[in-house]
Symmetry: C3
Subunit: 328 residues, 3 copies
């Protein structure tokens, strides 16, 4: 294998690992195993094939566009592509046009990643994280409804008024264990507890504190969802936990230096993410869209944005406005 | 009473006052009286209790997070919390879980306030104002639909196609007076003209020009809504005026230095806000959400953003793009 | 004719031309001819009258607000106004209040243009382009549903679940020619192939590369929409092509310096725009809103934002966060 090919392989594996913030090729490889296991168990390989295509296309697009080399090498341009590649075949039936859709969509995820880097990271120090996946995924699924060559196979849209509220049920012990691991697996859209366990092992291999944060995030999300009596079917599928797992890791360990105050802050952020999981289900269902990791993305952006010494604007005249004289 | 407790009390009262841009504890106290009066008249004290909880929790969260001290002292971290605390029990039935929801939501409003300060204020000199309340309130109400422990008691969602357009009715003189004061009271979600009058007194105590702007904003909004024949039921409740009152104050007096040109500009902004009140009702109703002060927030952001000497990008090559050679 | 009046006339004509990025009064005059021709053919002159009002009001508002003089002279404050002025009578029936709505809406488009210039152009070098039109147009059409004095005459809102997917039909040769020109005419909301041809001539007069990009954009959009089997009725009206035409021009010629790599980049952007045309139809139809040029605006913002040397945030601690100690 030539040096260049090995480079690309490493970049892609790291890209898979970066979905959970881990720049580690072995971790990334384990994540791909988790995806493949779920395909095997569900007898549907389109998600695994899509994942690989998305990862490779997104990474190669970043190289073609000559994006920041260090970032490409770290896998930072691959992790949104792999998520696009899994998500699209999860919600759209396989067809020749689907693969065209995935290739263009994965290349688009790289452009969106570069755009967010130039916007929210440059100006406000906010990491784009899986925001490009959420935006690209929403646009692609929405668009598919209008194209005869693409059939949206997921749930049909629901109105808020159709919403069935959760009844009070305490999950059994076995279910609690399933929820714990599915909360992790669903970050890769995998409702499979074995896949979730493999992923958690992958995280621990790369970073013990990150693994602890992921596990705690899963437990806090589970408790919050049960206390507020979210729809049990969704809770058991891990759908109320995966965004919260990412928030707990991002706010508690990855983007802030862990301390007592940061732990309290991350706890608040994790609970808020569970609230927002409910919100986004309500906001996106009428449009026939899944919420993807939007609850995590929005929470994380809001919790990472505040910086020392920056104040809200006081209630007095702004400087240098178009239609006013200078106030000084 | 110790010095520290007195500090917190003052900060909270100023926080209430800042809903109408007034850093004045007496004004804030009058606003709380207005809220309590509406609770008394409507025989429902959950909004008053929620208001106090939201105000205190948001302010204490800002202290815990060591947000900019001057801003905390001015009440700038309290006014979004008090609005969250009134809004949530207005739209969600009381239950033990509701108070948990309000406490977390109020703390969240402080984080959002700090985030907007670091984003739109730092970069563009745009005040966050009640934007954090609108965002937090929307997410909390939307989320409540999915949680069995929280019952949304407000209006059910409507589709655009269900929209009943206003018939031509000229309100009576008594109704005009009611509308005038309710346009002010509804900023605190109070459809009560006595509460509106108490609030207007509070504003005049702190600033005469602000009081005049509030009164004029209410009149302009009323006239515009009647001319365009908005739904009379909503107009009489003051729902077409409260955002416009805030816009008139913000653009005409608070964030721009008053002058003849600024008055014209504020008049345009106030009329636009009434248009946007219609828009946001249409945009948020299908999602089962109230529009809150979004028409004010969006109008104000757009009208405060323009700065002297800044031009739109001309239709020629941008500098330093990823995929192009340097153009110089 | 006085010098000043001649100035305003030139500024307005250039404003019309700037809809297709052309600072050329003759081109702008031809565009107005194209609009008038469609009015003549459709026996409905409200759109032409609206276009002129929108153009003049937006330009005069920019002069009143003392916006950047060079930009006003170039017509950069007129092109969103002309689009507002055509769009509103296209979707709302004529009435005395309609003209009030258009005048305020056109003035608003100027404020939004100045706001975007101070925000996305200043911070990120992203041109506002027709973003102000899309935002203003959406808000105005949405608002009209709630006002008895304004009757929305366009299509009623549809739900995603009502969506009729396109069947496989290959348009005839005549239809292909119609689509080619209507893809251009629809930028001005004109489903008329003669108008489209006049516009294309106007573009070629001002710039040959821009004309070629417009023509190629139309062809690529047509091919993509047919391959993905979009709704044939919409495709034949030119509704899947007009945003793509703008993207091809903007990314391929106007905002980036043309090169082999830029051509590939523009091809990707153009295909993405067709996908997003589908997406925005799905996202805005349930709200009873047309998508306007949103697919172009969003694609262009995302593709123009990435800058050399700017990287996404790596997955490690952010600097200077409110709640963390300094990491250095």
């Amino acid at each position: 294998m030539t040096e260049k090919r090995k480079d690309i392989l490493t970049q892609c594996l790291r890209g898979a690992g970066q979905v959970f913030f881990m720049e580690n090729a072995l971790t990334g490889a384990l994540f791909l195993v988790a995806i493949a296991y779920a395909s095997y168990a569900g007898e549907n390989w389109t998600t695994t094939i899509g994942a690989v295509i998305g990862l490779v296309v997104a990474t190669l697009t970043a190289r073609f566009l000559e994006c920041d080399e260090e970032s490409v090498t770290s896998g930072l341009f691959g992790f949104n592509g792999v998520l696009v590649g899994i998500a699209i075949p999860t919600f759209i039936s396989a067809s020749p046009e689907l693969w065209f859709y995935i290739v263009i969509g994965s290349a688009m995820s790289t452009v969106v990643t570069a755009a967010l880097g130039a916007m929210i990271t440059k100006s406000w120090g906010i990491p784009g994280s899986t925001g490009p996946f959420v935006l690209t995924g929403w646009l692609l699924v929405a668009g598919a409804y209008t194209f005869g060559a693409l059939e949206v196979s997921g749930d049909r849209p629901e109105l808020v008024s159709d919403y069935v509220q959760g009844v009070a049920t305490i999950p059994s012990n076995l279910e609690l264990v399933q929820i714990f691991f599915r909360n992790i697996g669903q970050v890769f859209l995998l409702g499979n507890e074995i896949s979730g366990a493999i992923i958690l092992v992958g995280i621990f291999i790369a970073s013990r504190p990150a693994g602890v944060a992921a596990a705690l995030g899963s437990v806090i999300a589970m408790a919050t969802a049960i206390v507020l009596r979210a729809d049990p079917h969704s809770v058991i599928q891990g759908l109320y936990g995966f965004s919260a797992v990412l928030t707990a890791m991002a706010v508690g360990v990855v983007f802030l230096k862990t301390s007592a105050k940061v732990v309290v802050y991350a706890l608040l952020a994790t609970i808020v993410t569970v609230f927002l999981q409910g919100s986004y289900d309500v906001l996106t269902s009428p449009l026939g869209l899944p919420s993807f990791t939007a609850p995590y993305v929005v929470t994380m952006y809001l919790f990472i944005a505040p910086k020392k010494l920056l104040a809200p604007h006081p209630h007095r005249a702004v400087e240098n406005h178009l239609v006013t004289e200078s106030t000084s």
